[in-house]
Symmetry: D2
Subunit: 412 residues, 4 copies
């Protein structure tokens, strides 16, 4: 692509992990665009030290005031993970969207930093085949319609790992020992999940090797005794575990620990990417899986049927919006408004059993002002007139009326 | 309700299990309507002997030609369970509809028998608070708009178990020893599942006691070693396990065994009934749970994204139709037509790991003429031009265009 | 139904028009339930004097403090008609819900009055075959779960007009001269519309006779010259006509005048009632029709595509909720929240041509901070780089990718 | 774009109208790709002579066997327009998709011809800003995943009309006199509609000038006397007008005449293009508008409520698929299967009044074996027991149960 006419760039904010790939990008941006590079490194709970990223940026000549390192964990869980959990979002019936939901926040923060430092461009390390490029860039453009976007993986000639390492060596970029050889798969991580894809995972018939998992024990190695926990919810959001209050991020971290111990939240999936291909991935979402199951549990006694069924119908669309990167859009906000309204009374406590890969709701209760379950009405015993069984006849007869009229026509 | 004006009934077809309740109903119908009673006992795989029902019917004076006992297991799985499984139907995100899906078939057979024997009425033993009365009666009316329906539980005065037993004793109806005392919960069973509800289950905070479960080992008692199986699918339906072909009913029976062994398919749920109340139930769906998970697995490599996402959007409506009893309706048939069309290429093999309560997809493959997964395209490695990464830029730019126009407006 | 056991009623709030039917109901309630009757007469813009209702109530012995006459026109349009218009709600593709939308407000006011006067029951004059009984009663129960509801048409023996008139004569209830004979059809009216159904309209093949119409000129008699008007919208609601500001009710009244003159808003329809039967009706919605068309017009330049298409998908469900009487439900409120959020920028002006039965949008504009239409981008002329046509190639290629993979499979 | 690396093309099938634009494209393809050009000219009822296209192709050196001229009118209406009409498809509430629905057929025929003549590429004259490029190319790729696509408007440098005319002059391409000057707008036409957009129409506040309309009289000039017609439908498709049978295309042609006379089917619209921008267009769909209205009319007495409401919910998605060019996709076929199933009994006759811009249903009837309307049941008169009004109480009570439980919670 040597013939590409590149736009003039003055200053670019790069989403910078400090790893090999984004280090190469940093250098490549400096060389190719002859522009000032601002690095942004976010703590989303991926479990890595961030200070090395600072050192690395310095080493590559990034000015002190151009190095941004932010702890976004609470914002991530409170404003992204929790709203999504309220919707019971499951992509293609199974995936809890751990990568998808992090991208809008990173994009938002990059655009904020660009505004602060007067940058005219942003850049990211996502490849040209994946969903993340779309999620980043739809976020960028939605928040700043005039921003310039540089996606090095779609532009440069470094299309193999060898080329990347050669570039790094040629430019004195430190290469972690374990990156020398071929990594057998590629990962992304944050407080909600770790994803793995590529290489050894590309054969969808082959079982995921145990060494790919990093966030969960295998169910076989999990304790032989179940553990019971309770989670308290207020207005749709989890606020306490076993009666102890937590902030959003620390609550998710605590559930991650519990989930890890019991081998909960592994998912081996072939999914449909927004860009039109199928890919096989492996996800570990220990705490998020528990949260998802518990949320359904508290909804089951506090949410009206009409609201629940409407939510269930809207969920696939909402989920697809997040997966595809349409977080900062009117349509996602519209559905969020509907979903959030439904959560006003989703307050109560769920009791779960964690055991060898499974989280199971075994009990749920709610304060009387939020509870909709009534044993008095549903009971097989005498209900003291709470429900008149004869009403059912009329209910059925009128629901059947159109079917009877249909039947008469068909009987002709 | 002694003042109820009852319609003239000539002959009634009763859904008759041979148990205490339907035996009392049989007698009550004879006494109250002074009509001929035809009994219909279906084998839906509930795991009970049917011949005792014949003896009981005879004992209560039902004529030989009025006793119908049918093995409906294959029809049940082939024409009801499998079509529903094609839709990945999950009521309120979790329930596999084991009771709901059996009712239409019973209703259909009752109406067929009524036609054969010249009966003008049908009757069932479902109570006035539940969903089953609706499912039965919508089926009846949809298939014969002029049929008369007798729902004894909504009509009679036998509103307590004591009254029922007193009636039985007064009429020499044999009472099984275990029915003398209060049964601690109520059950329904067929080849797909066993449901339990009522009494000890009415407190949704209390864990379901282990003695309630009848179809599955507890995960704790399941084998400590995982078992791997394969399931072959053709056009959306399972046809073989571990390479061995089965008929629909025998396949489900085999999966039930496997699920039982590994403690798979237990569900403790508070659900919204169609009649407007919440109830707590416990379901055991061992084979059906495995089937559901496996079906998603084979779809993941054979079903186009557009088809899959449309299916996911339609599924909540489809599911609600079945739960509410609208099986024999134009709208259910319409959705079935759409779903069935999508399954033309859902042919392939899924490999599952069964372990301590979980069934997990660990591999999936499909013959090349059905497969849509392509490692050549998705690979992180060089794809030899199968996908042009530069296309992604235009894709993103045009998806973002409206968002940029929105952003410009908001920036004003 | 002489054997019905009637509940004890202390005081009942009757929706009372002052016409023959509700006058008979008033007397019948007094006689049958031996209770105090409170009359509630609402001005919803039906175009009738309300004071005669007061006189009639007095005449029949209703205490002065038990007579309520309220002008609800502004509340009706502001809180019911306008929110519904934001959704572009059309039942079965054509009907603007003029009757449906008025019922919740009447129900709400009855429940408020019941609370004020300490009544334990409410009553209405809707028949047992229609939708209105459902809409009233779902409103009642939703706002006061313990209220008792009396629906005389479902209870009494006055099943023919002769019986009704005989009852009136026997109880000195004044009978309007034109009610002596059979009215050839039945009507309901409010500021939004007039509906007519029954009798001469029951043959759906016969054209509606001209004498049935009361709110609109026939298109043939409308002026031969078109009239052009503008309507200004703010945040989704109409606020001005031809630049002159109006309150919600007065704006709708003004549009009704314009629509009447030009013969706009007649609808002859066979519709599906919630209770399961089809009925033929004729509706006149002069101002509402103009409003509906104009609202689409202003949305077309101010509403984002994602928001609009989501609205269009949600509209049938929202519409059905209103038609069926589920206004005061969580699910309707959820959809309303989504819809209202979308209207934040629906601010602008629509120009319409009114002519012989049609209202047509001929122009629309919006202030720059709300407008999303950009001639600079869409132009066939040189757009100075606003849009890069080459982006379309990538957009198409990635949208096509899954279809190409499908095609390859099918080509095997 | 002189630096574009062009693929090797051997033979290309061009959608060729014979007009200036596609003539220039023909020449440009010959020059640029040095390949054999096959021209395909379709009669879709656009109302132009096709033989001049043959002469022009010859003149530009296209071999006799490479000139394809097909009359596709019947196929167009029968297999594209009619299936779409069954769905009552309206894009953004108003547009009948006249352009969208023609593109898949043209694409399909081009691919068929490519197969016949052994061409490896196809080409079209749609611009890079519009929807049609997407519709053509999704069609191409869906039907032949390996086809090469040439979109000259996205490739060449002829970005102004002057450049185009200069190119034509330089290559002896005849230029129609009226193309010399700037055409004041751009059009597309087929048997279903004529669309106009661009230039004088780009100001959405300015009324469309009368000279833009070509297919309809203005309502003001339409006859002062209404005309009544009947349309017969069988299984959802129109088959006769005023009792006289027509083939699909001739029926639509006849309705076009009637619509033209009465000024029916004009639409002035700002719409959202798939590519992300809003555009203003004017559509004339005289016969299609009548057909759409009539189809709703016949459905109103023959289609079950459940089927109709499901159709109404699916219609926006279905419509968007067609608008965006996803005709040849699994998801469109799935919805079509559902819709077509619903039409089995949509057989009957609709009577319409055509008058000054409006088509209004004034009567509808259906043979008894298809009809679902029953005056016996709906009547205000005594219905002889066809409907038991007391059923309504139970119907309402159970529909209200969850709302009452909600109300109790809120009353706490």
């Amino acid at each position: 692509m040597s013939d590409v006419t590149r736009p003039e760039i003055n200053k670019v904010v790069l989403a910078f992990s400090g790893g090999l790939d984004t280090s190469v990008i940093l250098k490549w941006l400096q060389q190719t665009y002859h522009c000032e590079v601002v690095t942004f490194t976010a703590d989303l709970g991926q479990g890595e030290e961030l200070e090395p990223a600072r050192a690395k940026a310095r080493l590559m000549g990034v000015k002190e005031e151009n190095i941004f390192i932010d702890d976004l964990r609470e914002e991530f869980v409170r404003d992204y993970v929790f709203p999504m959990m309220r919707a019971n979002a499951l992509y293609e019936g199974t995936y809890l969207l751990g990568t998808s939901i992090a991208r809008p926040l990173i994009a938002k923060r990059q655009i904020e930093i660009a505004r602060m430092v007067g940058a005219d461009a942003v850049s990211h390390g996502a490849t040209g085949k994946g969903n993340d490029q779309v999620r980043f860039e739809l976020g960028y453009y939605g928040l700043n319609p005039d921003i310039k976007v540089i996606a090095p993986w779609r532009e440069w000639d470094l299309t193999s790992r060898e080329a990347l390492i050669a570039f790094a060596e040629a430019h004195q970029i430190p290469i972690p020992r374990d990156k020398r050889g071929e990594s057998p798969f590629s990962t992304d991580a944050n407080l909600l999940h770790t994803s793995s894809e590529g290489k050894v995972l590309e054969d969808p018939w082959a079982e995921v090797p145990e060494y790919v998992f990093s966030r969960t024990n295998s169910p076989e190695e999990a304790p032989d005794t179940p553990q019971y926990i309770t989670i308290d919810f207020e207005r749709g959001d989890a606020v306490a575990i076993d009666g102890e209050g937590y902030s959003p991020a620390s609550l998710l971290a605590k559930l991650n620990e519990l989930g890890k111990t019991h081998g909960i939240g592994r998912l081996d999936l072939v999914e449909n990417r927004f860009v039109g291909m199928k890919s096989r991935g492996m996800y570990e979402t220990p705490g998020g899986t528990i949260l998802h199951i518990a949320h359904r549990g508290v909804e089951s006694i506090t949410l009206d049927k009409g609201a629940m069924h409407l939510k269930d119908e809207l969920a696939p669309r909402y989920t697809e919006m997040i997966y595809n990167g349409f977080w900062f859009t009117p349509e996602r906000r519209m559905l969020q408004a509907a979903i959030d309204l439904s959560q006003e009374n989703v307050t109560g406590t769920v009791r779960l059993k964690l055991y060898k890969g499974s989280a199971t709701v075994v009990g749920r209760k709610s304060p009387v002002q939020h509870n909709l379950y009534s044993a008095d009405i549903v009971t097989f015993e005498d209900d003291a007139g709470a429900y008149d069984q004869r009403d059912a006849e009329g209910f059925i007869k009128l629901n059947a009326l159109r079917l009877r009229l249909l039947g008469r026509r068909e009987g002709l």
